[in-house]
């Protein structure tokens, strides 16, 4: 096997990991702070892809969609949190999971009503079209962009959480929401903010994914299943865990698809099973 193929596969794995990270980071963040597994998280990714398509189709520009769409998706998410989830935090976790399942159904079908059943293609911007030569092989520029985007967002989220005052309050709520409440943190607002921010991240993932995968119905569920595997491997509530999990799943899927196309899915689950035998709470998760 030549070096060119190794480099190509490695970059493919990193590009996929970049997308997976954008989705799983938010899933993990919401779990860490709200203790809710958001089944609708993948649908926000899909919303991002479709809204991105709308912006590109009407204005013809890709770059603004990266800035406009995530806040819009985040707003939708924050509004849904404040109008439904907020009332049932005291119930057993299953009720929250089921509630988000209901929300996922509503949003998925709404997208079908608005956009119709056919997939929508999005052209990448001229700067990211075509390929560039790396280690003797031609590699699509757009995928390199996904690698960089994943890294940049990962670094930003980490800095926000560990280096700012807002991040401090968020971490306090994650650790002990009642104590944070007593100390004067507005817990309800933090929850809405985090939920919205996580949805915005998923939306950003969707915008970025659309030029590669098109925007299609069902992309939400297919990504949420992968993202579940990522956070199970990495540990729920841990951002470094999401990053590690994304890399592992990205690598398993890419190499699996290359060497054993029929069994790519199986390899991903085999890796997950192997990790869970030794650490049932994930690589970076904490035993509860």
């Amino acid at each position: 096997m030549s070096l060119a193929i190794v480099v190509e596969q490695l970059l493919n794995a990193l590009a996929l990991a970049g997308l997976l990270f954008l989705v799983s980071a938010g899933l993990s963040l919401v779990f860490g702070i709200l203790r809710v597994v958001n089944f609708a998280h993948g649908v926000f990714y899909m919303l991002g892809a479709y809204f991105g398509f709308s912006v590109v189709a009407t204005t013809g520009w890709f770059w603004p969609s990266l800035l406009i769409v995530p806040p819009v998706v985040g707003l939708v998410g924050a509004m849904l949190e404040a109008s439904t989830l907020r009332f049932i935090y005291r119930r057993p976790p299953i009720y929250q999971l089921l509630l988000t399942f209901g929300i996922a159904l509503i949003l998925e079908e709404s997208v079908r009503v608005l956009y119709g059943p056919t997939a929508k293609g999005v052209d990448p911007p001229p700067l990211l079209q075509g390929a560039i030569e790396i280690a003797g092989t031609l590699y699509p520029r757009y995928r390199l962009f996904l690698v960089l985007l994943g890294l940049a967002v990962g670094a930003t989220v980490w800095l926000l959480l560990t280096r700012t005052r807002t991040g401090l309050v968020i971490r306090a709520v994650a650790q002990n929401s009642e104590m944070a409440d007593c100390l004067g943190a507005d817990v309800a607002r933090v929850r809405t903010l985090v939920f919205g921010a996580a949805c915005a991240l998923a939306g950003l993932g969707g915008v970025a994914a659309a030029p590669m995968t098109t925007a299609y119905l069902g992309m939400g569920i297919s990504v949420i299943v992968d993202a579940f595997v990522v956070v199970v491997i990495g540990g729920l509530g841990s951002i470094p865990g999401s990053m590690a999990g994304s890399l592992i799943v990205g690598a398993a899927q890419t190499w699996g698809a290359f060497y054993l196309p029929e069994t790519a899915m199986v390899i991903m689950y085999a890796v997950m099973g192997a990790i869970l035998i030794f650490r049932p709470w994930g690589l970076f998760g904490e035993e509860e």
Partner: protein
Amino acid sequence: MSRGRWLGAAALVALAIAPWALARHQLSILTDLLIFGLFALSLDLLMGYTGMVSFGHAAYFGLGAYGSALVLIHFGQPIPVALLAGAVLAGVTAIPVGWFSTRAKDIYFAMLTLAFAQLLYTVAYKWRDLTGGSDGIAGVPKTTLFWGGPSLASGPAFYAVVAVAVVVSLFVCRAIVASPFGRALQAIRENERRFLALGRDPRPFKLAVFVIAAVFAGLAGALFAPFRGFASPEVMFWVLSGQGLMMVITGGIGTLVGPIVGAMVFILIQEILSSYTEHWMIFTGAIFVLMVIFLPGGLVGTARRLAARA
């Protein structure tokens, strides 16, 4: 006799006279409702009595459907043989899946079951030679009651098989949850740590109930394939798993009868909505969101609470 027993007896009588009281297509809908009722019932063993929320329960329904379809199409065996084949296939597959999944708890368990179900779905989708891929297996016959026995091809005859299977399953499940084993499951649901502190290992119990629930889901699927005449990957899809959860919550978690009622109400709502609008999923989703917020006990749970207060 208590009010609950009177209601139960009345329901049994209603099921018994249904073939004479209902029109053909109504009986067919009732058969459908009962099959999904059995599916929801099996999920309640996990959710309601052990506190394990499976997000991949449709996989075992689907395995049951494929198992029974293959036996009926290729070997032309009587229906009970096909039911056994479907239930066993589901139960056997649930052993390794359960072994892995029960290592994790709560949300992790839910996600693992979903992941394994998607894996099984992919296998059904890709293994064209055996399963027919996305087309599935069509033309599954309703064969006979036993070798050389009466044909079950007519609507009322197959309804009778389904009704008996569902009622027997309900009584078996009631016996299970009332048994010492069932008590242990409920102890795990209430406080797993204390269960452990009392010197019992919860994992064998969880694995056992996971397999039992899969067997009943498989039985439901095994009834579904000959009833509808096909088995396809859709019956293993996550949507059905999610609908199962909705049925249990709608009817009343941890009541066994509730999920059957929930399945009936849920499917009837869907039938009615889908005759008005193509986009019924929006409305089912909305109804479900409202139910989760305002009726956490479900229909049967809320009815019981009101009855107790009255």
